[in-house]
Amino acid sequence: MADLLVVDAIGKVYGEGSAATRALADVSFTVAEGEFASIVGQSGSGKSTLLNLIGLLDTPTSGQVLFAGENTTALGRRGRARVRNEGLGFVFQFHYLLPEFSVWENLTMPAQIAGRTVSGEERDRALQTLALLGLEGLERKNANQLSGGQKQRVAIGRALMNRPRLILADEPTGNLDTANTEAVYGLFRTINAELGTTFLIVTHDRAVAQQTDRILEVRDGELVQDVRNDYAG
């Protein structure tokens, strides 16, 4: 299968001079379309830094990231925004919903940013997503009026709405209880199986990582292990 993502010797240094922190050094790996992989490592090891670089939220100090064959490191701000909108979906530990908007509006925001009107096919997709996430009937509610688990599910729905090829999740269940955590990973698996969406999930929970097909381990800003996990459910 073609490589969807090529991470090519990327490094990241925060700050300058004596205050400089090397968060990531010379990390390289590739991810194929349809993979369901996790990134593990201790706190401060550089997991979020890596994910933010892949997600074009930040720029690497060295190296480059290729997404769907395109060198994203060479893109300007506009191009990066386009790739974030069309090619990528984000799920963070915190939901990052827009409190001024309803569940429906939050869900359809990526489509609206892309300049599409929410009708016809777009509408059906949003309704499908709501059903998939078990959020039917909540679309009129304000994003503030949901439970933590519901908010996180809306955030996942929003990440899915533009049918991105790659979903980047950074401790997506960090704020959820066991039952909700199981439900979210179950959902990720379903989406991965049904839509063929590629997943890259950051977690410091080994048990969670054991459920993914591939485990990448980061230590002190370096990639120290990259193993296939054939025991995953």
Partner: protein, 375 residues
């Protein structure tokens, strides 16, 4: 359009803050409209009182002549499009004696219809009829009262050449000014010619009114040069009034500029606060792909909405103030000036947009990572 939708939603999410700033802009714009209209109306009234019913330009004989031809009135009307009225008159001084008292009168002789155009005498008659048949005279209210003459009474005048002439008073006018009402009189054209000893087609002056009173200086210059006569314009003789008006306009503009600055600062600070309050949302929107330009436009739209709302409110409030002022016990009324109001509205919205530049720029520069990393 998404930027507009988000802007409207942001404003709606803090209704108190939005309402306050709209009220602030409205008060500013209303003040501007009220002060501007007040000053404009006041000045229009002052100018009307000063020259509304008197000549704006008087053409007098040049150095080499003692009279001007009556045809000069037509010539002036034809050559200068700004001339609204030009009439030939004969002016002279005479002395009225009544018992012990004698009083100098400044007499203007002319055709009744002509004089009516400049002095608006028809509307200003308090008794008698507005008519100047041969040997008839019109006198002012103060004169009539002081010397106890009225319509139908004889009026004997000592002319400059030492002879006496007798007129019959046909009516009494009120020019709205005590001195004029005591010292000014009008007589028919032929009697004035007799009194001055000049021919039928000779006059002592051409009196002119213009459609634009402030064009008098240049028009007077041209008329004087082209016709070889001495042209006197009202502005030269009312320098004090004019400098007073200019000072008034200046202070009115100062007030308006300061009001606008206050409005601009108000909008700018509100938007700056809003930009800080919404940093998180902007970061999220950018993380999911909103472009820098669209993000910046959210604040431009917020400014436009606040500016438009405030300006509409301000126009309503301004009209309300002007309407309220019509009940005030003052001898003049404020007329709302549509062009002035349109300018105020334009300025209001422009100022709002300008004050959104800083928050819009900082918003468009924001990196989503700043929000995502700091939770």
């Amino acid at each position: 359009m998404l930027s507009l939708k988000i802007a409207a939603r942001f404003l709606k999410s803090s209704p108190g803050q939005s309402a306050l700033i709209i009220a602030g802009i409205a008060v500013g714009i209303a003040t501007q409209i009220f002060v501007g209209s007040l000053i404009t109306s006041l000045q229009a009234d002052l100018i009307d009182a000063a020259v509304g019913s008197s000549p704006h330009i008087t053409l007098l004989p040049g150095d080499s002549a003692s009279t001007v031809p009556g045809t000069l009135a037509t010539t002036a009307s034809k050559s200068e499009p700004l001339v609204a009225t030009a009439i030939p008159v004969r002016t002279l001084s005479a002395i009225y004696t009544s018992g012990e008292d004698s009083v100098p009168l400044s007499i203007t002789g002319g055709d009744a219809t002509d004089l009516g155009l400049i002095y608006k005498l028809e509307d200003r008659m308090v008794s008698g009829t507005y008519r100047l048949s041969a040997g008839e005279a019109l006198v002012g209210t103060v004169f009539a009262e002081k010397y106890d003459v009225g319509a139908g009474d004889p009026l004997e005048l000592l002319l400059p050449d030492g002879t006496m002439a007798e007129f019959t008073v046909s009516g009494v006018f009120d020019l709205g000014q005590a001195t004029a009402n005591e010292r000014v009189a009008f007589v028919d054209a032929a009697s004035a010619a007799d009194a001055l000893g000049i021919a039928d087609e000779e006059y002592t002056a051409i009196q002119i009114q213009l459609t634009d009173v402030f064009a008098s200086t240049e028009v007077a210059d041209r008329l004087g040069n082209d016709n070889d006569v001495t042209a006197v314009d009202w502005q030269a003789e009312n320098a004090e009034l004019l400098s007073g008006l200019a000072a008034q306009s200046g202070s009115s503009i100062m007030i308006q500029v300061f009001v606008l600055i206050a409005v601009a600062l108000g909008i700018a600070s509100t938007l700056a606060i809003s930009a800080v309050q919404k940093t998180r949302q902007i970061g999220i929107l950018k993380a999911i792909g909103m472009g820098d330009g669209a993000a910046g436009r959210i604040f431009a739209w917020q400014a436009a909405l606040l500016g438009a709302g405030g300006t509409l409110g301000g126009i309503a409030l301004g009209y309300g103030l002007i309407w309220g002022f019509s009940f005030a016990p003052v001898p003049f009324s404020i007329r709302p000036e549509p062009t002035f109001i349109a300018i105020s509205a334009g300025i209001g919205i422009t100022v709002a947009l300008l004050s959104s530049i800083i928050p819009a720029r900082s918003t468009s520069r924001l990196d989503p990572i700043e929000v995502i990393q700091n939770g």
